[in-house]
């Protein structure tokens, strides 16, 4: 059973990574297309670094993802906590419904309504509008990731802390937050995921020369996507993978030292 489990995991990983290897493979194709591999070339990688427009867009994408995820995580923590501490379960249920509307709304609707909203509020389109929009659609998923962790928290811990005279902020930082740490982490990474994955919302709220990768990729579709995009994606992927592997390496060493296998 354990073996079949491992096997299943490996098969799933292969399936999940198949499209990515496919993209990466053709990023080295000198023929310039995603069919019939001609010969090996590094050209697309080099031209990414020479194309300052593409570099700017890449940097924009990274910064939008990181900044919006951090802010969304913080607001999301506030949101999850306030939902949790609400007394009326009716209000909580309706607030949660509103929260989920954002997750389930089609991107086109979100994008179009944000565009109207920003012009209405007089926020000019550009880096600020994109970051605000990304924060906005990432918050609900963060809340949804943290909330179950709160419910699993043993409430007697809170009572005990209060009985011991801990102030609310102390309870929050010493008892509650450590308990929901995995939820916060998951929320942060999901926010990153949503942000990097999004196209429709970004399209509507980019402007004034500020653009992100996904918008660029979609606009290229009419003329065929250039393999530089494959090259960029492969690089992003490798960088993130390296960071994760380093983390893996460091944490295995640590756990071995401590003899802690959790």
């Amino acid at each position: 059973m354990k073996l079949t489990g491992r096997l299943f995991l490996i098969i799933m990983l292969i399936v999940l990574y198949l499209p990515i290897f496919y993209l990466a493979y053709y990023s080295f194709n000198s023929a310039g297309t995603m069919n019939e591999f001609e010969s090996f070339t590094f050209d697309y990688y080099l031209s990414v670094f020479q194309d300052s427009r593409l570099m700017v867009i890449l940097m924009n994408t990274i910064s939008v993802a990181l900044i919006s995820s951090v802010v969304a995580t913080i607001v999301g923590i506030c949101g999850a906590l306030s939902l949790y501490f609400l007394k009326s379960s009716k209000i909580r249920a309706s607030l949660l419904n509103i929260n989920n509307i954002m997750i389930v709304s089609p991107d086109v609707i979100i994008g179009a309504s944000f565009l109207i909203l920003f012009t209405f509020l007089g926020i000019s389109l550009g880096s600020v509008s994109v970051i605000l929009a990304h924060i906005a659609f990432s918050i609900p998923i963060v809340v949804l990731m943290i909330l179950p962790k709160l419910y699993e928290m043993n409430t007697s811990l809170l009572d005990a802390a209060r009985d011991l005279g801990a102030t609310p902020s102390l309870i929050l930082s010493r008892v509650v937050l450590p308990q929901i740490k995995p939820g916060i982490l998951a929320g942060f990474f999901m926010a990153l995921t949503y942000s990097l994955d999004d196209f429709a919302v970004s399209f509507f709220v980019t402007g004034s020369g500020f653009s992100v990768l996904s918008v660029e990729i979609y606009a290229m579709a009419r003329q065929g996507i250039s393999l530089e995009i494959n090259a960029i994606s492969t690089m992003i992927f490798l960088i993130v993978l390296t960071i994760v592997l380093i983390y893996y390496f460091l944490s295995t060493r640590k756990t071995v030292k401590r003899g802690d296998l959790s």
Binding site: S52, R53, L125, F188, F203, S208, G209, S211, Q223
Partner: protein, 355 residues
């Protein structure tokens, strides 16, 4: 908890750092800098020309892209960014003009306009070219694999042939698909008579077994990969595909077809109207037009520029049809929202009839 604080702080610092770093890669526009904002389809201009323009005029080009005419319209209409120049298709020009979204183009500032072929000027959608200057043009036709079928697609009706079961790709666009069905019945693709439209729809339903899929721009990659024998497609896309897959051929059936244009327009929100004129004039220069046509691969309306292209290309009647051929082509008229609604609805119903 420390881990999380660290993670969040670090992410924020890297994020802001990345945002600031773009200022060094491409310095931001200062107060005195002259720049134009261009809104165009992706990969639809030779980037070297943008650099050259900046070199010649000192005007910086801020370049943004869209993926459909309609999406572009929404963005410009909301006015979040003041684009100085956009490149919509002809039917959109009419729509934008109706909504007073365009500024009149000053022909005096465009001496190079003389290079545009006469047959591309003064068309129905903009009779005096007050608002638009043609950028590229083309037709709608059939891209097919001559080795895999005996049909030559000189008639639209050949698409209905039984040998093509599950072998046709269509572009996901109501006017094009309804249009060729109308053309196949000898009707105009600007038809508004509900009975005739319904007949065209019924005829399309009969085509359903032959349809492999109704797709967007991916149709190009699919045809390159020989995913199907035939596709109804725009000439520009067909041209791009044929560069990659030389086995394919393109033909405009004789029963009539669509003649389309992508054009320069100056939106009403423009800040740098002079710069926009300079840019249009720059792109109309025969050498630049030829260089751009060579890069993009679409048919250029610039007669003087065309003469600078390879002879084989100038004489390729598939992409530069003869005058006689052009006689049969029609430009889309703006049929009004209500009629377009009928087109869209029938097209949606057609898609739901696909199995």
């Amino acid at each position: 908890m420390k881990q999380i604080y660290l993670l969040l702080t670090l992410s924020l610092i890297i994020g802001i750092g990345a945002l600031l770093s773009t200022r060094f890669i491409e310095p931001p526009l200062g107060e005195g800098d002259s720049a134009i904002h261009i809104f165009n389809w992706g990969e639809y201009i030779d980037p070297d020309l943008l650099d050259q323009f900046t070199e010649e005029t000192g005007i910086r080009v801020v370049y943004e892209t869209f993926d459909s005419n309609e999406a572009m319209l929404v963005k410009i209409n909301q006015g979040g960014t003041s684009y100085d120049l956009a490149i919509p298709s002809e039917y959109m020009v009419e729509k934008m003009q109706e909504r007073d979204m365009l500024i009149e183009i000053d022909h005096e500032q465009l001496p190079n306009l003389e290079h545009i072929g006469e047959q591309f000027l003064g068309l129905d959608f903009d009779p005096e070219n007050k608002y638009s200057v043609p950028y590229f043009w083309g037709t709608v036709g059939v891209l097919f694999h001559p080795d895999k079928t005996d049909l030559d697609f000189t008639e639209w009706d050949m698409l209905w042939d039984e040998s093509l079961r599950n072998e046709i790709l269509l572009v996901d666009s109501a006017r094009e698909v309804m249009g060729f069905s109308l053309n196949s019945m000898g009707e105009s693709l600007n038809e508004t008579d509900p009975d005739k439209l319904d007949a065209a729809f019924q005829k399309l339903v009969e085509l359903a077994p032959n349809i492999r899929g109704v797709v967007g721009d991916e149709i190009m990659q699919m045809m390159i990969n020989n995913e199907s024998i035939a596709a109804v497609i725009w000439s520009g896309s067909a041209r791009d595909v044929m560069w990659e897959n030389e086995e394919l051929d393109y033909v405009v059936p004789e029963g009539g077809s669509n003649l389309w244009f992508d054009t320069f327009v100056i939106p009403e929100t423009a800040n740098n109207i002079d710069g926009a004129h300079q840019f249009i004039n720059f792109m109309l220069d025969p050498e630049n037009a030829a260089q751009n046509a060579d890069y993009v691969g679409y048919s250029t309306p610039n007669d003087a520029g065309l003469l600078l292209l390879d002879e084989s290309e100038q004489e390729d009647t598939r992409f530069y049809p003869t005058d006689a051929q052009q006689e049969t082509l029609e430009v889309y008229k703006n049929l009004g929202l209500e009629n377009l609604g009928i087109y869209n609805e029938l097209f949606l119903k057609f898609k739901m009839n696909l199995e």
